[in-house]
Symmetry: C2
Subunit: 337 residues, 2 copies
């Protein structure tokens, strides 16, 4: 329970002026006398007056709070994205409320409900993996709470979103390997039901074709992202009569497990088989054998741009603004300085 703090009423009483005068003085309203303004400000400072934000939220129907929902914080991708969000938000005097869905659609739905009730001014969401429908977000429209999706964006038109197109990076990855002379390049992909997986596969095949390599279906395998599933997928590649000499892996985490497993099978990393991945985690810098390269998806930029977009929407008086999809290009990068 908050303590009782000085209010404009208090200041008004002491100065024998009206509350509106005090309010105007504190806001540098143009219809205020310089003398009274000075007096009011002086007393305000003396009393350590601070406007009661909750009263302002209530009155203005505006909380200056942005809600952010991500699957988890501990994944560096998301904490970096949130840093981007927070930096932009704080520059605009907004606060950031966070919650984790743990990739659980139901929990996500519940969080949306909470955020709605606490009257956030807007929402930034990277959806849970198993979120298929966007119904629980549609409800927010009725409440005039704009949503901007980022990174993991629902497959649906007419949404505001910021995402990173994996196409360029994937093509670069295949080019990179092809340039090194690899002919049999495998794709260790994520679950087929993820848009992220489809994008990778599509671009991967396109990359092969561009390099006049034919796509062998046996070289495209899939993991549900669990360790066991990844191991099985890798093993299936190793079991092939004609093994791949290079693998494009779903992301760095999976790549770490993949390489660990391969190593245990006496495969020499990046010699017998080369690896390229997605995410470009800084920590791979410290590996003895990191993937040769990794597709950067710019989480900080995604976060900050999503926040920018949300602010644009919020400050847009036009009610029926067209949804905007901002798409960044991914980029193949190495860990060299």
């Amino acid at each position: 329970m908050q303590k009782k703090l000085p209010t404009i009423k208090e200041i008004a009483k002491r100065l024998n002026v009206s509350v509106s005068t005090v309010s105007r003085a504190l806001h540098d309203h143009h219809t205020i006398g310089l003398r009274t303004k000075m007096q009011v400000k002086a007393l305000a400072k003396e009393l350590n007056y601070e406007p009661n934000q909750t009263a302002i939220m209530f009155k203005q129907r505006k909380t200056f709070i942005i809600g952010v929902i991500t699957p988890r914080l501990t994944e560096e991708f998301f904490s970096t994205a949130i840093s981007g969000i927070e930096d932009v938000a704080s520059k605009n005097k907004y606060n950031v409320l966070i919650a984790q869905s743990y990739d659980d659609s139901e929990r996500e739905q519940q969080i949306v409900e909470t955020m709605k009730n606490s009257r956030v001014d807007g929402l930034l969401v990277s959806v849970a993996k198993n979120t298929k429908s966007t119904e629980h977000f549609d409800a927010l429209k009725k409440y005039n709470i704009p949503v901007v999706f980022f990174d993991c964006v629902p497959e649906q038109p007419d949404l505001n979103s910021v995402s990173c197109d994996l196409h360029t990076g994937t093509i670069e990855a295949v080019n990179f390997l092809a340039a090194k002379g690899h002919k049999r390049i495998a794709l260790l992909n994520g679950p087929a039901n993820l848009p992220a997986s489809n994008q990778r596969e599509k671009s991967f095949i396109e990359g092969l074709e561009k390099n006049k390599l034919k796509a062998d279906p046996a070289l495209i395998v899939e993991t549900d992202l669990s360790k066991e599933s990844t191991y099985a997928a890798v093993q299936s590649l190793l079991d092939l009569k004609s093994k791949p000499t290079a693998v494009v892996v779903f992301n760095d985490y999976v790549a770490l497990e993949t390489m660990q497993y391969a190593k245990s099978k006496k495969i020499r990393i990046n010699k017998d088989i080369s690896f390229v991945s997605y995410a470009h985690l800084p920590v791979c810098n410290y590996l003895d054998n990191p993937p040769l390269a990794s597709v950067e998806q710019f989480p900080y930029e995604q976060g900050s741009k999503a926040m920018d977009l949300l602010f644009n929407i919020l400050s847009d008086t036009n009610e029926s603004r067209k949804p905007e999809q901002i798409i960044l290009d991914s980029k193949l990068m190495t860990w060299g300085d």
Copy 2:
């Protein structure tokens, strides 16, 4: 700007009852007729009525928001701690507002100000490295906003805090190395002005003594945590006539750099020189040569216990509650399953 939503007044009008009746009905107040209660609830559901949290915050002088300030989110330690906080908070219907100080004391101060103005019910803080004074937190007492510090706790009595005592883990670390036959054990410590460094050094020396090893001052070196400084510190150890055979390193990040540098100097990791560290980052699992062991500081537990403590303080009617310092024991751990 929020849209106009159904209010209790609206429900009251439609049902030809008073607003107070509606309010009571929705709260299952005991002085309410069953019939009217049912009617009210039915209509509330039909209209999709949701109580306006901002009005409640305003009226009740309570926001159900907890502010969390950490140096940065991208460090897994902190994002894990925040997960602990968020899990406990959401179980108690509280929301979590986050902000990063980037280890800058001034920025931290500014954030405290913002949080104070947005009337958070309480604050959880892991202070910036260069924060010496706690003045900016003292101010919060006047506003009745309790603060619980965690992990990086100011050296000052009479604070509420949750921290992890490095003593046990450090002793275990030295024992561990001594048991492996190491006689010359070095400490690559952090900046001397950090409490965290002092704790390590004190316990380190105690550990040596317990193992009847004498502490050689030349074996205690220091890094300001920058890569260059770390390299220099490592080099100074390698330059010794009588090199250490084992090093206790400030944390895993520093250890990664240390080992990378040592490797470049043809030192065989954990053969020529063994390494033990602090933090126990999961990602070290994937290194070819992780430190042999690392002192776990239980960020999730620190976060959740700090949140628990804050709730206890918040629900404590007793104004002058004694400050409580909760101290967890650290623990030396390896990355083996």
